[in-house]
């Protein structure tokens, strides 16, 4: 049976500091590996910081909801916010092979998330952004990194 936990943070970068401890609690319950926890924390930091920095046209306080669940061999991280519509799946790819001096760092976070996740889904529902990120529980079996045949 799928097990899920939910929390919410305010649209302040400092509030993001609560997320890794929350992830660690869920990971301990579910027996997630350090590598999976690494990926989940990175994915949440990338997308939540994007929402906090660029998602709101006003200076008001907003609530961002975060949910984690495990279903089969997949860990699912979901984020829901009431910011401006933003579909990270539609963002232009970054050229990570460009020389250092020509690199623009913006966009790198979304590139990392798209690479770490097996699936990233976005929907705008009732004036809210809903992002769903799925990662395999055994990332090393993905893409034959360890030569799984």
């Amino acid at each position: 049976m799928a097990h899920a936990v939910e929390t919410s943070i305010l649209n302040k970068i400092r509030d993001l500091s609560r997320i890794p401890d929350w992830v660690a609690g869920f990971a301990a319950e579910q027996g997630l590996s350090d590598d999976v926890v690494f990926g989940v924390n990175v994915a949440l930091d990338e997308m939540l910081s994007n929402i906090i920095k660029y998602g709101y046209a006003d200076d008001a306080i907003h609530e961002i909801r975060v949910r984690l669940s495990v279903a089969g061999q997949v860990v699912v991280a979901e984020i829901e916010d009431d910011g401006e519509p933003f579909d990270p799946c539609a963002a232009a790819p970054v050229n990570v092979d460009a020389p250092l001096e020509d690199r623009k760092v913006g966009g790198l976070g979304i590139h990392i998330v798209r690479t770490l996740c097996t699936e990233v889904g976005y929907a705008r529902v009732n004036g809210r952004n809903r992002l769903v990120m799925k990662m395999l529980l055994e990332p090393n079996t993905r893409k034959g990194i360890h030569g799984t045949q």
Binding site: I13, R14, V37, N41, D45, R103, G109, H111
Partner: protein
């Protein structure tokens, strides 16, 4: 994230313990800026006790690398786990930094 510094000959070894993300990366950036502002501007960042690093961390490493390049300083990294190296690779940063397996090799690479 906690930072601790020690000197190994001319090299400042900066050990990073914990999480490098949107919340903590600015502190790492400030520390690197400060180390690289003073000769001999040699810094080895030891990531042996890193929990994870996100693009906010890559951004400060990128800026520190630029600062080093412009001021005759040098920057190297050591102690990265396989997962951390995967993130460096995904981000295209693997080939942009001197990366040593151990602290001793990192110090040697900077001397």
């Amino acid at each position: 994230m906690e930072l601790s510094e020690r000197k190994d000959n001319d090299v400042t070894v900066l050990e990073v313990v914990g999480r490098v993300d949107s919340v903590t990366a600015p502190d790492l950036g400030d520390r690197l800026t400060s180390i690289l502002a003073t000769p001999p501007r040699r810094v080895l960042i030891d990531f042996g006790k890193l929990e994870y690093i996100s693009s906010a961390g890559f951004r400060v490493l990128f800026l520190a690398s630029k600062q080093a390049g412009e001021s005759g300083g040098r920057l190297a990294l050591c102690g990265l786990s396989a997962k951390a190296l995967e993130l460096f690779s995904i981000s295209g940063f693997l080939k942009l930094f001197t990366i040593a397996p151990t602290r001793a090799e990192g110090v040697a690479a900077l001397r």
